[in-house]
Symmetry: C2
Subunit: 377 residues, 2 copies
């Protein structure tokens, strides 16, 4: 703390991203990055964009990128906004659509950043509890509010909302903007982009960091009614007119144009996810149904923080969320098959070891026995 | 306007950046870009950063970049913050150091974005008028306030504040953060970075867009006391943890390491600036003393908007600011010698033509004669 800090900053807990450890050999399954590299076409386009022209400001409107996205998504370019990652766009949404005093809704378990944005920009919020099975109860969002934010599929649960339910939610909230954060939609579920022509209160956010293997490049899109896009442009032009650099624009365009690599990588991730889900369930793990590139898992006997610590010692990084209801779960990114096999073997070993230790411990000191892992569900 | 817009966004006039025209051959002297390309070392470093690793999030803390900047500026890395251009960092400053209800000070004529930030974030401001000769009257900033922002050299005047005066200003404002935006300092004037060890309320902002020929890459730095830097980190982590992509980090590092190209390009710009200043003054232009890579010029007889229009018709882009006191000036970026010669010849021709037209007109209709160009000074 420092005497020069604003009151807002003194009182806020910023978002804590997953670690970006810099050790040599590790199995990094903690920040939902794609295990497969970007398409060679994307890398070529970026190299080609490294020219003397970098002395000039980039196109602030990302026109070529928006035109390419327009062809890809079948939405007019004027209804598309490009930003420096989807997080930046989500932050802009708070200034664009909500005032301090407004109350917005999001689930009790979702992307932590929504709460951080609300606190930073002084917007009130109410959380709607997920069901016991971690589903989003859409009817819970039919109440009076000034805005709704949903991740679909949700994070860190991985569960998807059906398009029918989502449309019902958008319809019941015509007074307010409904923001659907589709960071993981390419791995499962049906996009709400198809609903955009019908609803002027629907904004869909996309990122190139997950399904497009471009976390290191920082590209996000927003798609929605022209009025909503204009509000985002106004916010951007009150903060930083040139958020997306020349090279990122070039890489993003090439990514949208190479559908083959994109589709193949997604199929590989999905196949790995489904295989590992089955294996972990056989090994006594509860695995939440995932439509994403990660799994939320919990062991019936061994606590998540113990597993997390033990995995770290083996240089396997997964993520733990110290939040009610999910603090006994690990969120595990889907890596390559090899990485997932290393994780799976390590987990098998740990739950076996711990079972043995427990047996020993319980003979000596019964109170040291860990609580049932499923306490929160 | 749209019913879903926030009240803030409904009422605000965003910053209007200089045009990025996409016509073929033009003389682009409107956004203070560097006429010389980035160093080949910088381009090589960026190409080398285009790898499969782009699938991973970038280092959110830009550690290597900050360490390089630390060696370059002689300030510990913990006292340096990197962002997606200096505009982003300036916007972060408003959330980091000011609350709504606070009142900050900046000059009446300065970078327009300061006012836009203040309005966006609900921070009050008072402007301190520049002197008749467009100097910053530092004593005007000794009054009660919650923050000061100064561009040094100032834009769009180009005039510099001496380090002695700046230090006096920082000393008289120990209750508040003093932000010095040194976007143009490499072209003239003495940096306030040397004062950082003495004052914990001083924050210096730098950009790679002007002197480093990297406007298209989006890199800015802030240097100051560790407490100020921590506040900026908190704001960033409440908005977008990964603001600077891998390639931009690589390019920025290489730029700091190639001092030779950097110094040579700056010397060329300064030489051109001084040559053109002398020529324009001979031709009847008022040219404000510039310590930057642009000139603020006004003709004693011909109005700036007429000159601006006529130049545009010749595909020469300069910038006009529709603001009191400077609305009869053109801001002209220093381009290559060839570009400046084209501009100079065009201006010569225009003031000669207009003089002839005026003479004719004044014979017929005296009231059509333009007012004296220097009305605001």
């Amino acid at each position: 703390m420092n005497k020069y800090w604003s009151e807002t900053i003194k009182g806020i807990a910023p978002y804590v991203p997953g670690e970006q450890p810099r050790v040599g050999r590790l199995v990094k399954l903690n920040t939902n990055e794609n295990p497969y590299p970007p398409s060679p076409e994307v890398l070529n386009a970026m190299r080609a964009a490294v020219t003397d022209e970098l002395r000039l400001y980039p196109d602030p409107n990302c026109s070529l990128l928006r035109e390419t996205a327009s062809r890809y998504y079948g939405i007019p370019a004027e209804q598309i906004f490009a930003g420096n990652g989807s997080d930046e766009i989500l932050a802009f949404c708070f200034k664009a659509f909500f005032d301090s005093g407004d109350t917005i809704l999001f689930p009790d378990i979702t992307y932590n950043f929504y709460e951080v944005y609300a606190r930073l920009f002084g917007v009130s919020y109410r959380t709607v509890p997920l069901t016991e099975s971690f589903d989003v109860p859409v009817e819970g969002f039919y109440t009076c509010n000034d805005g709704v934010i949903l991740a679909n599929p949700n994070a860190p649960t991985g569960k998807v909302i059906s398009l029918k339910n989502l449309e019902a939610l958008v319809k019941h909230n015509r007074q307010a903007v409904v923001i659907i954060d589709e960071a993981y939609i390419d791995f499962g579920g049906e996009s709400a982009i198809g609903l955009i022509p019908k609803y002027d209160n629907l904004l869909v956010i996309r990122t190139f960091s997950k399904s497009r293997s471009l976390a290191g490049l920082r590209i996000g899109l927003a798609l929605g009614h022209r009025g909503l896009i204009e509000a985002l442009i106004r916010v951007r032009d009150c903060i930083n007119c040139f958020t997306v650099d020349w090279i990122a624009q070039a890489g993003a365009i090439a990514s949208l144009e190479d559908t083959e690599t994109f589709t193949r990588n997604i199929q590989k991730v999905i196949a790995t996810r489904d295989r590992i889900t089955a294996l972990l369930r056989q090994a006594g793990f509860r695995v939440v149904d995932s439509s994403t590139n990660f799994l939320l898992i919990s062991h019936l006997k061994v606590k998540a923080d113990a597993l997390n610590e033990a995995l770290r010692r083996q240089n396997i990084f997964v993520r733990l969320f110290p939040k009610p209801r999910i603090d006994n779960y690990l969120r595990v990114t889907i890596g390559t098959d090899e990485e997932m096999d290393i994780l799976y073997q390590a987990l098998l070993e740990l739950v076996r070891e711990t079972r043995e230790t427990q047996v020993t411990l319980s003979n000596i000191e019964p109170s040291a026995k860990p609580k049932d892992g499923s306490r929160d569900m």
